[in-house]
Amino acid sequence: MNPDHYLYLAAALFTIGASGVLLRRNAIVVFMCVELMLNAANLAFVTVARTRSEVDGQVFAFFTMVVAAAEVVVGLAIIMAIFRSRRSVSVDDDSLLKF
């Protein structure tokens, strides 16, 4: 099977994730899009590792998953806290940290 297809898929997923992060207002959706981007990267890692018969990319993928899991814990907690105080999960509402 041609490994290029996996890379195309990874690119497509990354683009979807990136546009989601930039365009959506809902913090939960933005968060999910970030996860999508991470997994696109993971897919690219393992594909390249496979084609080059090296294990480095696969190890990287594991690390990425661990970091992503930790990030989810912290990120969701922040979103929960903001929602509790402001009754909103729109990222545009939280624009006070400026100037």
Binding site: A18, V21, L22, L23, V30, V91, D92, D94, S95, L96, L97, K98, F99
Partner: protein, 638 residues
């Protein structure tokens, strides 16, 4: 002997330290101790003098190295004091007149709240002056030189609550610094060229290690130093203002001792000057100009102390002139210095006594007829007056005639010019001193004639003779004014005494002595006559008349201050103003512009922080894309 040499300046120094550090505890007895230590020094000096008299001529120098002062490998200086026939003259003068002035000050400063401080400064002065004349090297001399400058500054500004006194002290300090630069640079040259600052080593190096040019430079620098300390043209301007200090200070420091330090320096450095004819010519020129300038200024001053100060300047001009003549003049220069020490100190103490009697009035136009109420002052002042104008057999006659003869002995055009200047100076001296005498003691009493000075509430003054502790020093100094000249001059006693230090000289007598004496006495008589005609025969107006152009110029010190302001003060102020402007506009401007630019730029930049998470995310994406693009571009390139 070494201990006694160390104690001479040591005792007054201890006195000064005790009074300055002891604080109010020494208020009650400080002045007595201060006077006692100076007299103790005088006793030691007399003892040393007597011992010295008893020795053979070439063993008269007594020295003591007290400690190693600058133990640097390249330049080792020991703190050494030495007494030789030259310095013992000064030591006796300083401690003798110093002691008398201390006694006088006890009464003069009796009611001053800062009497202790005054006596401490006087002690400090005596100690510094003794170090100056007793040092056996130029560095020690420099220490004393600066010490007397400090004491002079402190004492001129003693009544510093008066702005005029504070300004005068500052002026004296600054003008003296100009001269001191000369001495400092001379020291540096000695260190660089000879590697030693001791008198013996430096004088031995003249003509060997020191070339003609260097010797001339040294001579001129030492002359600059002497000009500053001795108030010679062009650094004369401070002496008149220095009269703001208490009168005993004027008598001791600004008449008898400190201002003669320049003469001492020139005589002591005779070996340098003799090897540098150009420098000697400069010394003689400075002396001749100053003696005339001082005399002319003296004619126009109405303030008794300023008239005497101008006279001091003029008399020191005589000494400097004589010192510039080489071995022919050293002995007469020192003789005039000693006799001047007596009669000028006497005149100042007399002036102090008059001021004491007149509620500190110094304007001679407000005096008059004081001979009747102040008989002792009038007689002592009168004797000193006869001495200064050079009436035989008073002290000034011997020394001033000696200088005039030495000047004429130069021969040629120089001899004629110098002779004319000194004789003319003697005539003018007779005029202004007679004027002072008549205005103060003669004529009708003008002290209660009241149209001017409305600010003085009690218009009437009741002159009274000073207490005995003030008149006694005046009497002793008057005796000195009468006899000192004959004692020193008859039989060439002083020149023989000084011969081991300054060398011997057989006067040439190009012009017969009787002729010189006659001409000088005639000139003096003319001066006295003119003064009598102008001030005794006519009434003296209370307000000075406008006067001729010369009188107005002399009243303003022959525009000495204006000249200093024009060539030094204003350009200096302009320079500093320019530098300040450069700093404010140039340096501050550049710094300010950088700050303004950075602030304006950051004002713009901070707007990028708009708080929207998506904007930050976009910039991160943009950045990542940029980094990626650059990496790929460079990667494909290699």
């Amino acid at each position: 002997m070494g201990t006694s040499v160390a104690l001479l300046p040591g005792l007054p120094l201890l006195g000064a330290a005790a009074h300055l550090l002891g604080g109010r505890r020494t208020d009650r007895w400080g002045h007595v101790v201060a006077t006692a230590v100076v007299f103790a020094s005088f006793g030691l000096a007399v003892a040393a003098f007597v011992t010295m008299l008893g020795r053979p001529i070439d063993e008269r120098r007594v020295g003591a190295v007290l400690f190693s002062w600058v133990p640097a490998p390249e330049l080792s200086v020991d703190f050494g004091l030495a007494l030789d026939p030259l310095s013992i003259c000064f030591v006796l003068l300083i401690t003798g007149v110093g002691g008398l002035v201390h006694v006088y000050s006890m009464a003069y400063m009796r009611d001053d709240p800062h009497r202790r401080r005054f006596f401490a400064y006087l002690n400090l002065f005596v100690a510094a002056m003794l170090v100056l004349v007793m040092a056996d090297n130029f560095l020690g001399l420099y220490l004393g030189w600066e010490g007397v400058g400090l004491a002079s500054y402190l004492l001129i500004g003693f009544w510093s609550h008066k702005p005029s006194a504070a300004t005068a002290a500052r002026k004296a300090f600054v003008v003296n610094r100009v001269g001191d630069i000369g001495l400092a640079v001379a020291l540096m040259i000695m260190v660089a060229e000879v590697g030693s600052v001791s008198y013996d080593a430096v004088f031995a190096a003249v003509g060997t290690e020191l070339g003609q040019g260097t010797t001339t430079a040294l001579g001129l620098l030492l002359l600059l130093a002497a000009c500053g300390k001795s108030a010679q043209v062009p650094l004369q301007s401070w002496l008149g203002d220095a009269m703001e200090g208490p009168t005993p200070v004027s008598a001791l420091i600004h008449a008898a001792t400190m201002v003669t330090a320049g003469v001492y320096l020139i005589v002591r450095s005779g070996a340098i000057f003799e090897a540098a004819p150009a420098a000697q010519t400069a010394v003689v020129a400075v002396g001749a100009v100053t003696l005339l300038v001082g005399a002319i200024i003296g004619c126009a001053k109405d303030d008794i102390k300023k008239a005497l100060a101008a006279s001091t300047m003029s008399q020191i001009g005589y000494m400097v002139l004589a010192a510039g003549l080489g071995p022919a003049g050293y002995a007469v220069a020192i003789m005039h210095l000693l006799t001047h020490g007596f009669f000028k100190a006497g005149l100042f103490l007399g002036a102090g006594s008059v001021m004491h009697a007149m509620n500190d009035e110094t304007d001679m136009r407000r005096y008059g007829g004081l001979a009747r109420v102040l008989p002792v002052t009038a007689v002592t002042f009168g004797l000193a007056y006869l001495a200064i104008i050079g009436v035989p057999p008073f002290a000034g006659f011997w020394s001033k005639d000696g200088i005039i003869e030495a000047a004429l002995d130069e021969g040629g055009v120089r001899g004629v010019l110098l002779g004319a200047a000194t004789v003319l100076g003697a005539g003018i001296t007779a005029f202004y001193m007679t004027r002072v005498m008549i205005l103060t003691f003669g004529g009708r009493a003008r002290w209660n004639a009241d149209e001017v000075h409305p600010h003085e509430a009690p218009a009437s003054v009741h002159p009274h003779e000073a207490p005995a502790s003030m008149t006694a020093p005046m009497v002793i100094l008057a005796i000195g004014s009468v006899g000192a000249g004959a004692v020193l001059a008859v039989g060439d006693r002083l020149s023989e005494w000084l011969a081991p230090v300054v060398g011997e000289h057989e006067p040439a007598h190009l012009v017969p002595v009787w002729m010189v004496t006659t001409v000088v006495l005639l000139t003096v008589a003319v001066g006295v006559g003119l003064a009598v005609r102008q001030y005794a025969r006519r009434d003296v107006p209370l307000v000075a008349p406008t006067g001729s152009r010369l009188t107005r110029a002399a009243r303003r010190d022959l525009y000495g201050d204006d000249l200093n302001e024009a060539i030094a003060m204003r350009p200096g102020q302009r320079l500093t103003a320019g530098i300040v402007r450069l700093d404010e506009v140039g340096v501050d401007g550049a710094v300010g512009a950088v700050a303004t630019t950075v602030r304006a730029a950051s004002d713009r930049l901070r707007l990028l922080q708009n708080g929207f998470v998506r904007t930050y995310a976009l910039s991160m994406f943009g950045g990542a894309v940029l980094v990626l693009a650059v990496t790929l571009a460079l990667g494909s390139g290699s």
